[in-house]
């Protein structure tokens, strides 16, 4: 879970206390704004995100950690834009078979910058919101879709269980690897074929044990009355002044962006 989403970081801040629904909506809206943003708008968004991150009282180092797993992806993205954007060639690279353009450099930079902001926005959400609050917020936000036949509660429970059981599976995988190592399997330094075979020998029993676990979990949930009529929650959330304030600021931002879009 930790490297998928970033883990909740305990701290006492305004951002932590915001309603999870407000935080989810804000993150989604900000992400949409960032995706199509021009360079100046990106800079403005960066400033805004920086300010909010400062408000969370979580050290900036923690946010940087969220980047480690996506660095290869970013590098690829940058290279693709660098090499395949037509425009004015840059002299130092002209000598080789590849051409690098000024526009390519700019676009690559901008795209990576945008995705970087997205990662910051996503980690802002997951660092300051308990997973269960996230799921609760998601459930409440999806509730209007019930009319269209979307089982909002089941969707929320699915997300929840995925988060909850991810570490369990990692541990199970470790156990299996150890059990196979104990019987003499050496994978490190082997050929590709050997590695593929080793992966297969791990995945099949893992899938098997996963299905068995899922079976027990389903029985345990059923035994506790899941799926027999409407559900309620222990937690209740109500929007306070700061939630409305946050939503208002967000709307202002969106309106400003829209106006800029019309002018351009």
């Amino acid at each position: 879970m930790s490297f998928l989403l970033g883990q909740y970081v305990e701290a006492d801040s305004v951002v932590h206390r915001l309603d999870p629904r407000v935080k989810i909506v804000s993150t989604v809206m900000l992400s949409l704004l960032i995706l199509g943003a021009s360079a100046p708008h990106c800079l403005a968004s960066a400033l805004l995100l920086g300010l909010v991150m400062h408000l969370t009282r979580i050290p900036f180092r923690a946010y940087l950690k969220a980047f480690r797993p996506v660095i290869p992806f970013f590098a690829l993205l940058f290279l693709l834009h660098l090499l395949f954007t037509p425009g004015t060639p840059l002299p130092p690279f002209g000598a080789w078979a590849i051409t690098v353009t000024k526009e390519g450099l700019f676009m690559g930079g901008l795209v990576v910058f945008r995705f970087g902001l997205l990662v910051f926005a996503a980690s802002l959400l997951t660092y300051t919101t308990l997973p269960s609050d996230l799921v609760f917020g998601l459930e409440r936000l999806l509730r209007p879709l019930k009319a269209l036949g979307v089982p909002s509660h089941d969707v929320a429970v699915m997300v929840f269980l995925a988060l909850r059981f991810f570490p369990v599976f990692l541990r199970e995988l470790d156990r299996m690897r150890e059990a196979q190592a104990a019987r003499g399997r050496v994978v490190r330094g082997g050929s590709l074929g050997l590695k593929i075979r080793a992966a297969r020998d791990l995945l099949v029993p893992l899938a098997w044990s996963t299905l068995r676990k899922a079976d027990t979990l389903a029985a345990a949930m059923e035994a506790r009355g899941y799926g027999n009529g409407p559900r309620t929650y222990m937690r209740t959330f109500s929007l306070s002044f700061r939630d409305y304030a946050a939503l208002f600021l967000l709307l202002l931002l969106a309106a400003w962006r829209l106006l800029c879009g019309i002018q351009a």
Binding site: S132, R164, L217, A223, R224, G227, T232
Partner: protein, 276 residues
Amino acid sequence: MIRVENLVYRYGSQGDPVLRGIDLEIKRGEYLAVIGPNGCGKTTLVKHLNGLLRPSEGTVLVDGMDTSEGRSLREIRRKVGMVFQNPEVQIVGMTVEEDVAFGPGNLGLPPEEIRRRVEEAISFVGLETHARRSPHDLSSGEQQLLAVAGVLAMAPDCIILDEPTTYLDPAGTRKVLDVVARLHLQGVTLVHITHYMDEIVETDRVVVMDRGRIALSGSPPEVFSEQDILLDLGLEIPSVTAFMKKLRQMGVPVDPRVLTVEDACREITRLLERRP
């Protein structure tokens, strides 16, 4: 409170039945143990008691409600709770208190009532200091206590324990059994499946299962006096009982029908004091 009549169960429509005609009545407040070798149908039987499985033939009635009728299922699951063998797999919450809140939430209770029940259940099993922690940080014993609390929060009349101590260390086992004993004192009906003979000496009645049938049924001393049948089924008798039987075979005139260390001590001191 639970009545099982001529219960037959088979997986699919053909094939050998796993349960071959079970008749069983469980009284309110009774503490019942179910023992038997692996594959004898213990778990299959108890899964019928709260409607997780529906009989192929025969009926299961919980306070008069038929488990094969879908509309009573919610009430049946509230009345009859279940604790499974593997503590890790039955936990659905991200924190201890949220996991306990899962059951009452499924009953559709108002938030204040859920909160009240969660706190009560957590303090009953003694996990107050862990209420806001992740279940992953708990020991297996504590996780099993959490599973018990999750069932308790539904205010059940009966709790089924399916080998609840198999995955636990001795300390965890002791804590779970202690909670079980307190539940019995509070009048909760208990059905306890186990492989450990020492765990059933405190029960009111023992049901021994073999290949889908009830082979023996009676109070713990009655059942353990049938040592031959038990050994045939690959089961054991409590080590204290075995010890006393051996003593008697060696010519020491003790009563072998004791089950606990305390009773054995009393029996032996009685014998020693009678001597000059």
